[in-house]
Amino acid sequence: MAPASRRREVDARLAATVREERGRLVASLVRILGDWDVAEELVQEALVAALQTWPRDGLPERPGAWLLTVARRRALDRLRRDARYRDRLAQIGDELQLMDTRADETGGPMGSDDRLRLLFTCCHPALSLEAQVALTLRTVAGLETPAVARAFLVPEATVAQRIVRAKRKIRDAGIPYRVPEPAELPGRLAGVLSVLYLVFNEGYLASSGEAPERRELCTDAAWLASLLARLMPDEPEVLGLLALMRLHLARADARFAADGALVLLPGQDRGLWDHAEIARAVELLERSLRMDRPGPYQVQAAILACHATAASYAETDWGEVVALYDRLLQMTDSPIVALNRALALAERDGAQPALEALEPLEWRLAGYHLYHASRAMLLRRLGRLDEATDADRRALARTDNPAEQRLLAERLASR
């Protein structure tokens, strides 16, 4: 094989392997060593060794096992040199060997429990939400700190500091490295899901002109959700969230025109949607619904499924969409959900009742650009054009998103 194409193949395989194996290795080493920084450094060293060796010698048959062997050897070298581990060296050595034994049982280098431990610890409610997000992306998804910073539009030093502080709190406040007990699990799982959904939404709101790291947050979040779904296949809300993300991603190509302009749902070319992926996501959603433990992510995915499987905007089952929003409102009492319900109501019953449904939301949503943009849309339909322009101006003043700003500015200019 020519060196260049071999290099490309190694790069692609390495990227896939890193994503899958890195978190796995870090998770097990954190458990065994009890030190997050040392665990991450050892895995980093193993990855660097792979980058040096694989392009020269070709890819190993089981890249995960290869990385494990290197990480374990380096861990033992390091522990022997470090006085802090002297008393526990024998025990740690045994546990490092066990990492290997389990490889034969599970087919992968390690059992999956450690990654669950890692995820639940990163999303512990005793950490700030920003810290939970940064730590999860850095440690479980393996994003480098600068990439996390670019994705969230904050300085790199801020992200680094959040991660350092979070690790310090985990150590000093005694946050345990474990999956919560069954009694605590529903609340703690909801916390993990909300972190993953927040990451997804950050990426979803990014416009096509922004840094790729920002848009890739969607796929990072979907990967984390699919990992969680593999580890907890009997939790319907996990499957619901994964279905929700996939139903968004399957239609992502239609959201922006060739020139980068945002295209809203009614105007999207449904031919650009990935209908096979939509079908798979709907199947996943149906699997979660059969477990008969409803929750907000399943309902949101069901709403998206209505849109994603409709032949056209006009042929959407708006009655079902409104009913699902009603269900969601009972679960969440969110004004944003009420806003979306009003928009579905506009399609089912007309603009006037929808406008009336928006009115009681104003005191909670006056600062939210989509509240004003939605009002503008309904007012336009009712022919109240001056009021519509006012509402669009308010919306424009309240969004920082370049694609949304452009859409609103064009709308204002065209009247």
Binding site: H124, A126, A173, G174, I175, P176, R178
Partner: protein, 112 residues
């Protein structure tokens, strides 16, 4: 691990009748005894109200001033404390979650 539980009155107390008050203090006492006997509570006390507090400030030059009242003017006032000894933060959270009164509890690890 040892943690300090700072038990703060967060203003969520409804005025209680004397009888309800006695019942609540009874629940607090039996909760405390249960965890103390199990070794989860090392020690602790209820404190007199903040208007009994005296603040002593020592300046870098060694000068000492004594003033009346608590040093923090806060809506939430510390009404008691406990030193607890449990496995980890989750165990501390679980313990604090069982506190029988509508209070806010701050959990801080103790440096040992």
């Amino acid at each position: 691990m040892r943690y300090m539980m700072l038990i703060c009155d967060n203003g969520a107390w409804e005025p209680l009748s004397e009888e309800e008050n006695r019942a609540l203090y009874g629940r607090i006492a039996s909760w405390w005894d249960e965890h103390r006997q199990a070794g989860r509570i090392v020690e602790g006390h209820q404190l007199q109200p903040p208007d009994t507090a005296t603040t002593v400030r020592r300046a870098p030059d060694g000068n000492v001033t004594v003033t009346d009242g608590p040093f923090l003017e806060a809506k939430e006032v510390v009404g008691g404390y406990g030193i607890i000894d449990v496995a980890d933060l989750d165990a501390a959270i679980a313990l604090a979650s069982g506190w029988p009164a509508p209070d806010t509890i701050e959990i801080r690890p103790v440096i040992e």
